[in-house]
């Protein structure tokens, strides 16, 4: 399939008007695929991040396998290097983690939604890998506490990275430290604090829902499972859950998950009202119970398309009601993921624009030369785009590659540092170190350089 120059003209026009939004790639994966493929080849964090936010996210598992490590600051060169096995120091010989029995109970009940068509033997193998993955995360990060639902998140990574366990581990470890550590404190209280942001946020964006559903009166426990499993316990479609994970990685903040929840809630408003009045009529339970029931189950029945649309609509809410402005936000701990990596809406559009246009030009050149883009993942195509790009490579691009390289290096240094002291380090110290990693992930690298060099 070739990319028509009309598409690129439209793209250029929109870029010129600074309307870089998700509509660009919505209906044209043939345009998105080569762009994504090139951006991944170039380790172009910002473009990958930008494309991950467009409708449909990172398209499929093949792209995710390459893009997620990039978005998580995993240094790919090490995996292509001589000695990948050096990483997997024998974790099995490390002391057991106190939560290992719980892990095994949950792993037994995993892969209910995903890999649903897999044979029994496939599932058995996945479960065994899932068990190893979680145990290794826990043994190598003994300060983290396992919670039921963490296994659901890990199972998404496993399906994506199926046969690349080492890479899977590195991704899950970074993901856990960057996004999930609040949920893995010794008590559930930090999770509850995050949960409590939901009612005031609903109040801001839709007062009717807030009032009718008595959200000021009932505990927001109806949302505990979507929150702490990032919907992987509630959304059965693998393509939808993958897109949600794309969105978290692209936004660089756990905060987006709260907005996704609200966005899905808004999309189901009428259904929810109807269901509640029906249940009240039939059952005569307390209204609070009925609301809890409906709110804890509504996500399970949402259509795939509606989920995609809600993810897209979410941007409007993030702009209208920042989490930091909500009253319960003051209760959130100093080193919470919500504080160390807040949701940032000010992507550098100008820079993205320049680079997208650059990729566009290269692809167009490719077309002119007659080598049509048939398979964006094929090596031949990627190399030809790369060659075209190489000709035009400017300094900005060089700087970006360097930046990504430095991010990887810094992450590695910090992770190693962490590995060295983790056995005797109190959790707060660990938290501080992790917040440095997050900062690297989301802030311009130049701000951090003086800190490390």
């Amino acid at each position: 399939m070739s990319v028509s120059s009309a598409d690129w003209d439209t793209l250029s026009m929109k870029l010129d008007n600074s309307i870089v939004d998700s509509t660009l790639f919505k209906s044209n994966d043939s345009l998105k695929e080569p762009s994504l493929s090139t951006a991944i080849d170039l380790n172009d964090y910002k473009i990958v991040q930008f494309l991950a936010k467009t409708k449909g996210g990172l398209i499929n598992s093949n792209f995710r396998k390459k893009a997620w490590p990039l978005l998580l600051g995993v240094d790919m060169e090490k995996f292509h290097g001589l000695c990948a096995s050096r990483y997997s120091v024998d974790w099995k010989s490390k002391p057991q983690h106190k939560d290992e029995d719980q892990v095994s109970l949950d792993v037994d009940r995993s892969f209910i939604y995903y890999a649903e068509n897999g044979s029994d033997s496939v599932k058995t193998e996945l479960k065994s890998k899932l068990n190893d993955l979680i145990l290794r995360i826990l043994r190598e990060n003994p300060q983290l506490c396992y919670y039921q639902g963490y296994h659901d998140i890990c199972s998404v990574f496993l399906v994506i990275f199926s046969n690349e366990m080492e890479l899977c581990f590195q991704c899950v470890q970074n993901f856990t430290l960057l996004y999930l550590r609040d949920f893995m404190m010794p008590s559930i209280n930090e999770s509850i604090k995050i949960l409590k942001l939901i009612p005031p946020l609903v109040q801001k964006v839709d007062a009717q829902i807030y009032n009718e559903l008595l959200l000021g009166d009932i505990e927001p426990f109806y949302a505990i499972s979507p929150l702490i499993t990032l919907f992987s316990h509630n959304i059965t479609s693998f393509s939808s859950i993958s897109q949600i994970f794309d969105g978290i990685l692209a936004n660089g903040s756990l905060g987006i998950i709260i907005y996704y929840y609200i966005s899905l809630l808004l999309s189901q408003k009428e259904n929810i009202f109807q269901k509640i009045s029906l249940m009240e009529e039939e059952d005569c339970f307390t209204k609070q119970d009925v609301i809890h029931d409906v709110l804890s189950k509504f996500i399970l029945n949402i259509e795939k398309n509606t989920i995609e649309q809600s993810l897209e609509d979410c941007t409007k809410i993030t702009k209208r009601a920042p989490l930091e402005k909500l009253l319960p936000f003051h209760q959130i701990q100093r080193n919470s993921v919500l504080r160390t990596s807040p949701l940032i809406n000010d992507l550098d559009i100008k820079e993205i624009k320049d680079r997208l246009a650059f990729i566009t030009e290269a692809i167009l050149e490719d077309q002119v030369e007659g080598s049509k883009i048939t398979d964006p993942s094929s090596k031949a195509t990627r190399f030809s785009i790369k060659d075209a790009l190489a000709k035009k490579q400017n300094q900005t691009l060089f700087k970006m590659s360097l930046t990504i390289g430095i991010i990887g290096l810094l992450l590695n240094i910090i992770l190693k540092k962490n590995e060295a002291f983790q056995l005797q380090t109190p959790i707060t110290q660990l938290w501080n170190t992790h917040s440095e990693i997050i900062n690297i992930g989301i802030r311009p690298i130049r701000d951090l350089l003086p800190k490390f060099f």
């Binding site: 037994d108 039921q148 509850i192 316990h233 005569c284 339970f285 209204k287």
Partner: protein, 203 residues
């Protein structure tokens, strides 16, 4: 007090709650009781939710609203908030897992801390079909129940052994308790839906 339409299909509502260690089969007992299904790898319960089934005891239709809870200890902060509303609590352990049996005392204490004083408890040993794997004898179950002063049953969600019985037994005891309380208070007989405070909100 508001009166519901005469077409109501039940005479009273009981709010029950299942508690016990993770993996003892709380959700499976509930699924068997409400939908008559069994799935050995039934999805983990995260947080708390409920299912409903209406049963008939002594000619009275009783709607059971049964809350199912996450077993992992860290979720207790959430689940204990629901203890107070329950008229009956089912303490479940797994007869093939000694530790879940030992933890019954902990659960019993937690229940006492958070539930109403008159909440009726019942002890249930699940998975009694697993003859070869049994680690806790019926006698030990029975004797612990006696010590705690609560009724006891062994059941199997898998083979549907004693599942209905346990819910019926608990509902019956609660109903009888209610009757004797009403007699004591010289209130008029019969259980009235509208007399239950937690049932009024939506009427």
């Amino acid at each position: 007090m508001a009166t519901r339409t005469p077409s109501r299909a039940y005479d009273s509502i009981l709010k029950l709650l299942l508690v016990g260690d993770s993996g003892v089969g709380k959700s499976c007992l509930l699924l068997r009781f409400v939908e008559d299904k069994f799935n050995p790898s039934f999805i983990t319960t995260i947080g708390i939710d409920f299912k409903i089934r209406t049963i008939e005891i002594d000619g009275k239709r009783i709607k059971l609203q049964v809350w199912d809870t996450a077993g992992q200890e860290r979720f207790r902060t959430i689940t204990t908030a629901y203890y107070r509303g329950a008229t009956g609590i089912i303490l479940v352990y797994d007869v093939t897992d000694e530790r879940t049996f030992e933890n019954v005392r902990n659960w019993f204490q937690t229940v006492h801390q958070h539930a109403n004083e008159d909440t009726q408890l019942i002890l249930v040993g699940n998975k009694n079909d697993e003859k070869d794997l049994r680690a806790v004898s019926s006698e030990r179950g029975e004797s612990l129940a006696q010590e705690l002063g609560i009724p006891f049953l062994e059941a199997s969600a898998k083979t549907n052994d004693n599942v209905d019985e346990l819910f019926f037994k608990l509902a019956k005891i609660i109903q009888e308790n209610n009757k004797s309380n009403e007699n004591l208070n010289s209130n008029n007989g019969g259980i009235n839906v509208n007399s239950r405070t937690e049932s009024k909100g939506c009427c």
